[in-house]
Amino acid sequence: MAPYESDGSTPAGEAEDVRDGRRTAARYVVPVAVVGVAAATIGLVPAFAGSGDPDLPKISAQQLIEKIAKSDVQQMSGTMKISTDLGLPNLGGLESSLASGALSQGGGDKGGSAADPSSKLLELASGTHTLRIAADGQDKQKISLIEKAAEYSVIRSGDQVWAYDSASNQAYHATGAGDDKGAKAAPEDMPTTPKDFAAEALKAADKTTSVTVDGTAQVAGRDAYKLLIKPRQSGTTVGAISIAVDAKTGLPLKFTLTPASGGAAVVDAGFTQVSFTRPAASTFDFTPPKGTKVTQGDDLKDGSKARTHGAEKPAWGDGKAPHGPEKTAPGTEPRTIGEGWNSIVVLDTGSKGGMPSDTSSKDGAVAGFLGSLGDHVKGKFGSGTVFSTRLVNALMTDDGKVYAGAVTKDALVKAADAGK
């Protein structure tokens, strides 16, 4: 009696209603159970996956660093995830306009191509990104930044360096080992592979630093040792650096930098998948597709230089954008004061009035905006503005000096006072 089953007018209607209600409830258990099982799976699987730390023979920090140094991985490919949380306000599109502003100043015109490696670097300074890396020997490397429905790749094959931006269908080309700094600089300046990260961190390891082996972990399905690097000095914003090193190959697989202030990692870069087989040869072949706009590397030399500069301190490099190159030009070589973790870079921009509000209208607006992001501080040195992130702080004094470093605000003010 399907269509009429609970017609209510039948004598047994009421009893049937109750039975139907129960039946309905019983059937709704199915979707609820499916949701429950799915939620449990989503919640529990990562918990189980992370629980088993591998059992590896004990090893000293010295041996582990040697292992990294000896590591000779020639052929590999993998996917890595980089999360950067510098605590910068979310600048959205402004970030890239600042970047392009800084870059185009060198050439005096909008010489930038969307495929220029420089225009992509600032993107890595915030948020989470997925990179794919492939390498086959010394001459063939490829790094791709996975974007939504697009990809940005830097491909090096011998002395040819190509960068291809599929979203805008533009390519960037540089030739020769000496000339390719534009593209090759990408992995060097802004360490993008765990290996580069590790090398940079270990350089800093001296009497100011404690280096220990901190147990083991599973990274990208491989057994790894964890190397823990901690500053012994106070006054730095760096809390600890942890590097997971593949037990077999010695390749650093994961790099985590936690700030002294606690909370989430500032930089967390690690492989999510890695393979040590030779990548397909076609991976490194690139011929620009027909109709692709190709920018030659030489056209962008100035731009690349400007970028190299900015990329070292992605956190506050933007702050210098309004000053223009002529002001940062000769006689303003950055000096370093302090040692170890507390080194502070001092840059004399020579421009009075620190935050120039007198420059051209667009730059002035940008400067005003940046000023609103910082805190005003006063000290023996006079007064200035402190821009802080979770890792790098920078003090821009009103007489045009910039102090920056991975140190606390107080340490910056102290350095400025001492420099007076």
């Binding site: 996917t79 794919r132 791709s144 429905a149 990809e151 805008s168 109709g291």
Partner: protein
């Protein structure tokens, strides 16, 4: 609970043995009925028109075929910069353009109409008199909706391919990773992408079917489903809800573009298909719970 109880008085002994074939016949008649409706044909015509419009627009803007590379990185839908060099990219652009709205709208109309439309026009009770059982009728309705997802996607893809071949050159293409693949490989990937796009819609189809079992008004069910699609896509854009976003059904829709990477980046594709399967299971079973116990008065 055996569904025989629900099959109504029309059930005859032995019907169960013939039923697979019978269900197939039901499915075929459902498909034919659905596809013959003017409404369905109009929807498909709109879907076929989108790639034609995109193709003509790109052709007119670029004129003699000089590259459109001047467009910035994030101006316009995915892959649009490559269309002038290779017509095959029109397929990907057209799917990227239709996937956020046109395709879900069409699927929402068909899914929302599936049960509620029958109830609205008073034909549902006749369908239930037939010895198929409610569960099977629901499965047939869902299969029809999924078939429509596939047909709609293929209509877009084929129309885009025809338009692309007509207006732009075809040939070997460059993947978004910068490697080159042959035209045959590219066509294979285009077909795979069309299938993935169709599969991206099955979660929505189940959702629409569930909404359709809740009401007796076909219009209400369609409007609710399409409204849900829009609402959920807006929620997917709000940064404050990022913890929730991986679980809303359109979140990984654009992951079909990952098939154009070389090697293919499977993570998001697998997540998308898993999410669609989850939605299909949850709302499919909810639709079943509702439909097998509800009073059918129309």
């Amino acid at each position: 609970m055996s569904q025989a109880e629900w099959a109504g008085p029309g059930r005859i002994p032995g019907a169960r043995r013939q039923s697979p074939l019978w269900a197939f016949g039901l499915l075929r008649s459902e498909l034919v009925t659905t596809l013959r409706r003017w409404r369905t044909l109009a929807l498909l015509a709109v879907l076929a028109a989108v790639p034609i419009l995109v193709g003509i627009a790109v052709k007119m803007e670029t004129g003699d075929g000089s590259g459109s590379g001047g467009r910035g990185g994030d101006g316009g839908p995915a892959f649009i910069a490559q269309i002038t060099n290779n017509g095959l990219f029109l397929v990907f652009t057209a799917l990227a353009v239709t996937l956020p709205f046109f395709l879900p709208m069409a699927v929402g109309v068909i899914a929302g109409d599936a049960i509620a439309g029958e109830a609205n026009s008073g034909t549902l009770r006749y369908l239930l008199v037939a010895p198929a059982g409610r569960t099977r009728l629901l499965l047939v309705k869902y299969a029809t909706t999924m078939a429509f997802c596939l047909i709609a996607t293929l209509v877009v893809a084929v129309s885009a391919l025809a338009m692309g071949a007509l207006l732009f050159p075809l040939g070997g293409l460059t993947t978004i990773s910068g490697t080159r693949i042959s035209l045959a490989d590219g066509l294979g990937r285009a077909l795979l992408i069309a299938l993935v796009v169709a599969a991206s819609l099955i979660g929505l189809a189940a959702l629409g079917l569930f909404v359709s079992t809740l009401t007796n008004s076909g219009i209400a069910a369609m409007a609710t489903t399409v409204g849900l699609v829009i609402t959920v896509q807006i929620l997917d854009q709000i940064p404050q809800l990022h913890a929730l976003q991986p679980y809303v059904f359109p979140h990984y829709w654009l992951s079909f573009a990952d098939l154009m990477r070389d090697p293919v980046y499977w993570d998001d594709l697998v997540r998308n298909l898993g999410l669609q399967a989850l939605y299909a299971a949850v709302f499919g079973s909810a639709a079943w719970a509702r439909f097998t116990t509800k009073d059918v008065t129309a």
